[in-house]
Symmetry: C2
Subunit: 210 residues, 2 copies
Amino acid sequence: MAKRSTTTEPAIDSTEQKIFDAAHEVFSQKGMDGAKMQEIADRAGINKALLHYYYRSKEKLYEMVARAILNKAVSAVREVLEKEMPLEEKIRRFIETYIGVISRNTFIPLFIISEINKHPERFFATILPQDLPKPHLFFQQVEAEIAAGRIRPIKPQHLLVHIISMCVFPFVGKPMMAVLLGMRPAKMQTFLKERTAEVTQFVLAALRPQ
Amino acid sequence: MAKRSTTTEPAIDSTEQKIFDAAHEVFSQKGMDGAKMQEIADRAGINKALLHYYYRSKEKLYEMVARAILNKAVSAVREVLEKEMPLEEKIRRFIETYIGVISRNTFIPLFIISEINKHPERFFATILPQDLPKPHLFFQQVEAEIAAGRIRPIKPQHLLVHIISMCVFPFVGKPMMAVLLGMRPAKMQTFLKERTAEVTQFVLAALRPQ
DNA sequence: GCAAAAATTAACCAAACGGTTAAACCTTAT
DNA sequence: ATAAGGTTTAACCGTTTGGTTAATTTTTGC
């Protein structure tokens, strides 16, 4: 048996970590079904049996990787959403950090969405983190600003979904957008870099009263 | 050999059609990798060999189904986007029809996006329709309205991506949104029904000059 | 230094998968 | 009625896949 501590993380060059990294790559690109254990082993540069030595089964390995991916996505959102700060600044920061996280890990949203759709039970039971972002404070802030007449009336839940959609979807649907807009990869990249500013401007304009 | 006409569609209760429908269900839920020929056969209530009798291989069956799914999605968008009408009306109609199509076929976007990511070559070579929507007219209209001072300045490509994102993403990420917003399925359904009005209002507010 | 433990490998296994085949069944035109 | 051709099935085949085993190599504790 491998002596694996649950608290300490293994060294970056350890076999266990190499497996995890390779699995991370393959799973996030191909999902649970598309990923093959042999490919993960090859990419980690080790024998296939070692996968089962360190992580008992494909399912277990998948759960580990998926949980790590989820956590990265969730913690980034939560931090901004729950912190105390003026609404406009919060919106600005939320869009900035959200697009930042996604653009550095473009596979995350598609991975989450695909896997939820294919295996909802497993996802909600064993992969989804317990400490989800609580948008309650954000909703309260929006309603307070509306009451004070500082922003146009809007249902806060829809506002949040508007923002998340505009931040996430262009990265999820990047290839489709590129075709629709007739942009080559290079042009598409600059286009996506502009989004932080464009989304922020758009949201604030839509909230401006009158 | 089955005498299959390429022009006439087979009767709804024909074996060929039953296979197609079953394949449509399974492929759209599980994608190419996740779908199993046996499951398609079972759901169609026929022997597995019949799949190969009517559609030569899994790949061919997949291509048929995928093309049908794509066409439905694409043609709906194109119609509104290319038709001549005032910009505000076009935006209203675009959002309405877009959300309409998606909400009646919630699996379409995720299917397209997933499959593009896994097999870009196959997708662009054999599945994507040739006659894609041309957003050129829409872009011209937006720029004309900006020049006339009737809407706030905005890059038309970003506007289009904003709109599409807000229309599509809530359906794609529905389970995730439900968790984040703490909504049960019933509540989520009413929430999604509100989106047509909410998105329209939001976009028009963001475009209002001043 | 050496034995015990951990790490790694090659070879193998059973199940699942896409696909094939040959025979049986059904329809229909004469 | 019957032969021909289209339709459907059960059984089978080769390959791939996740997983196991037994043996080998490397590391570690004393």
